[in-house]
C-alpha cells in the first residue's frame, strides 16, 4: 500500500462547504457588546469587502470556488494524504493513521487556503491594499504570498518581539512583496501612543490588531484581512476535509475519529466540517478538537478575578477556586463568547458534535519529536497538539485491540520554529520550582518598572 494517497488536479473540489446550512442550532448573530444589539453586515463594511461579508452570513451549503482562486490553489493542491505507517509501527497500534499534509503550501501551512480567497475577493471588489496583523508570522506570510498572486499591496503589523526574534518569517513576507513593520509602529495613532510610553515597547497581538484596523479604516482603497475565527475564513479551509474524504474513499476507508488542532479554529474547521456534515446526517464519526492547556477555549474557561459580580451567567461546568479570588470562568458563560475561538466551532462544541481535549506543551513537543523521528516531517508547534491527541487515540486503540481509522490535519511544518524545539530538547520548558528569592526579585523588578 502507498504511503501517499493522491488525487488528480482535475478531481480537486470545486466548491467550499458551508456548515451554516446544516447546523442543528443556527449561529445567533454576534452582539455589539456596548449596545447588546446584533452586529449587522454593514458594521463590518469599513474593514471587509461586501462579497466577503455576504459569505460571512451566507447559509448556502455549497459555494463555488472561483476559477482564479482554484488556479492558484493548484500550485500545491490537492495536498497529499499520508498513511503514517512508521508512526503506527512505532506505537504498535492496530489503528490506521492518516494525516493530511498542509505543510506543502508555499507558506508552509494551511493558511494560504483562505489567504488566496480573501485576496481574490478583495481584488474583484476594487480594493488595492490590505492590512493585517501577525504574531507568529504564519498568517502574515500566507497573506503576503496571496496578495502577490493577485497584485495587491499588503502591510503587515508584526508584534515587535516576534519581528525581532523571527527574522525568517519577516523575510518570507518581504520576499513576496509585503511590507512588514514592527508593532507598535509610528505609522498609526494606536502605535504612537505605545511608543510614547516606551520606544522599545515589545508589542502585543492586541496592539497589532488595533494598528492594522486603524490603517485599513483610515487609508484609501484599503481593507483588513484576518486568518481565523470568522465564518468565511473557516469555510475557505473546508477544501482540506473535502479532499481528504475523496482520498480516503480511494483506499476504502472512512475515519472513526477526525482530529485537528484548534487555536482560532480555522485548521480544525478545514479538516472536520465535511465530516461533521456526515455526523449531523447520521454517520458515526467522532471529531476531536485539540488545544493547549495554557490557553483553553473549549475545555476550560479563562481565569477571571473576583468573578462574583458577574456570576449571573450560568456555569455549565463546575467552577473551582485557584487562590482565593481567581476562578476559571464558566466555559459557557455568555453563550458563545469563547474569547479566541471561532463562534462556529464553539457552537458545535456546545451542541455536542465535537469533543475537546487539551495538552500541555511538554506533551505536545514530545509528540512532535515522536512524529519527526517516525514520519520524518517536523511539525509546527500548534500541529503538535493534534499529534498528541492522535497518539493518545492510537494507544487507546491498542489497549482495546480495535482497528480504528484516525484522520488528522497536519496543519503546517515547523522548519521556522526550530528554536522552540531547541528549548524543549535542552530542558528549558521543564517545570521549575522557582526559589522564593527569585520570585521576590521578579516582584521588585516589576514594581520598579511600573
Amino acid at each position: 500500500m502507498n504511503r501517499k494517497i493522491l488525487i488528480n488536479e482535475q478531481d480537486i473540489p470545486r466548491e467550499w462547504y458551508n456548515i451554516q446550512a446544516d447546523l442543528p442550532n443556527p449561529l445567533p448573530p454576534p452582539l455589539n457588546p456596548e449596545t447588546g444589539e446584533p452586529i449587522t453586515p454593514d458594521m463590518l463594511a469599513p474593514i471587509l469587502p461586501m462579497n466577503l461579508i455576504e459569505q460571512e452570513v451566507s447559509t448556502e451549503r455549497w459555494i463555488k470556488i472561483p476559477d482564479e482562486v482554484l488556479d492558484r490553489l493548484l500550485m500545491w493542491r490537492p495536498s497529499p494524504l499520508y498513511r503514517a505507517y512508521s508512526l503506527e509501527k512505532f506505537l504498535q497500534t492496530p489503528a490506521r493513521i492518516y494525516y493530511k499534509n498542509e505543510g506543502v503550501s508555499p507558506a508552509g501551512s494551511h493558511k494560504p487556503n483562505t489567504a488566496l480567497a480573501q485576496a481574490y475577493y478583495n481584488k474583484v471588489a476594487g480594493v488595492k491594499r490590505l492590512t493585517t496583523e501577525t504574531g507568529a508570522g504564519q498568517w502574515g506570510s500566507a497573506l503576503a504570498f496571496a496578495c502577490n498572486q493577485f497584485d495587491l499591496e499588503l502591510k503587515i503589523y508584526m508584534v515587535r518581539v516576534s519581528y525581532n526574534q523571527k527574522p525568517y518569517r519577516r523575510i518570507m513576507m518581504e520576499t513576496w512583496g509585503g511590507k512588514c513593520v514592527p508593532s507598535p509602529s509610528p505609522d498609526t495613532n494606536a502605535g504612537r501612543k505605545f511608543l510614547e510610553q516606551s520606544a522599545d515597547h515589545p508589542g502585543s497581538l492586541g496592539i497589532a490588531i488595533s494598528e492594522a484596523i486603524e490603517d485599513a479604516v483610515t487609508s484609501q482603497n484599503t481593507k483588513y484581512s484576518l486568518g481565523s475565527v470568522l465564518n468565511h475564513v473557516l469555510m475557505h479551509q473546508t477544501i482540506i476535509g473535502l479532499e481528504a474524504e475523496k482520498q480516503l474513499k480511494m483506499v476504502g476507508d472512512y475515519p472513526d475519529v477526525v482530529i485537528g488542532c484548534a487555536g482560532g479554529g480555522s485548521n480544525f474547521a478545514g479538516i472536520s466540517f465535511p465530516f461533521i456534515r456526515d455526523k449531523i446526517h447520521g454517520k458515526n464519526v467522532r471529531v476531536v478538537a485539540s488545544e493547549p492547556t495554557s490557553c483553553p477555549t473549549l475545555t476550560k474557561g479563562p481565569y477571571v478575578y473576583d468573578f462574583g459580580d458577574t456570576a449571573q451567567m450560568t456555569p455549565l461546568l463546575p467552577m473551582y477556586s485557584i487562590g482565593h479570588e481567581f476562578v476559571p470562568a464558566p466555559i459557557h458563560a455568555g453563550g458563545l463568547r469563547y474569547h479566541g475561538m471561532a463562534p462556529l466551532v464553539s457552537r458545535l462544541c456546545m451542541d455536542g458534535l465535537i469533543e475537546a481535549r487539551s495538552y500541555n506543551q511538554l506533551e505536545t513537543f514530545g509528540a512532535g519529536i515522536t512524529f519527526a523521528r517516525t514520519e520524518g516531517f517536523i511539525p509546527a508547534p500548534e500541529t503538535n497538539h493534534a499529534i498528541a491527541c492522535v497518539i493518545e487515540e492510537a494507544k487507546k486503540a491498542k489497549e482495546e485491540g480495535r482497528e480504528k481509522v484516525i484522520l488528522m490535519s497536519w496543519s503546517g511544518h515547523g522548519i521556522i520554529d526550530l528554536p522552540s524545539y531547541d528549548a524543549y530538547m535542552s530542558g528549558k520548558l521543564e517545570d521549575y520550582a522557582m526559589p522564593d528569592e527569585e520570585i521576590q526579585k521578579l516582584i521588585r523588578d516589576l514594581k520598579r518598572c511600573k
Binding site: 457588546p33 474593514i47 486603524e214 500548534e382 521578579l442
Partner: protein
C-alpha cells in the same frame, strides 16, 4: 524562564508575560504558567488588587468584540 507562546508562535520569557498588557500581565498568564511556578504568589506580590481586577475582571473579548471596539474608538477620534 522561557515558555512557548502560542499567540506569538515563539519562545518568550516570563517577564514579557507579566508586563505586555500596558505594564499588566497577559490575560493567559495563569493558564500558561500555573503548572510551572507559583504564578498566583507572583501576581499578588507584584500587582495591586485594582490592577489584578483591571486585568482579569470579566470575560476576555472575542475577536469580533475587539474589532467593533477598535472601530468605535476610531470613529470617536474622527
Amino acid at each position: 524562564m522561557d515558555i512557548y507562546c502560542s499567540q506569538l508562535g515563539m519562545m518568550t520569557q516570563l517577564t514579557y508575560c507579566l508586563s505586555m498588557n500596558e505594564g499588566l500581565p497577559c490575560r493567559n498568564v495563569i493558564g500558561c504558567w500555573e503548572a510551572r511556578i507559583d504564578i498566583m504568589a507572583l501576581l499578588k506580590g507584584a500587582f495591586t488588587e485594582e490592577e489584578l481586577r483591571k486585568c482579569f475582571s470579566g470575560l476576555p473579548k472575542s475577536r469580533l468584540d475587539r474589532i467593533m471596539e477598535i472601530l468605535r474608538a476610531i470613529d470617536k477620534e474622527k
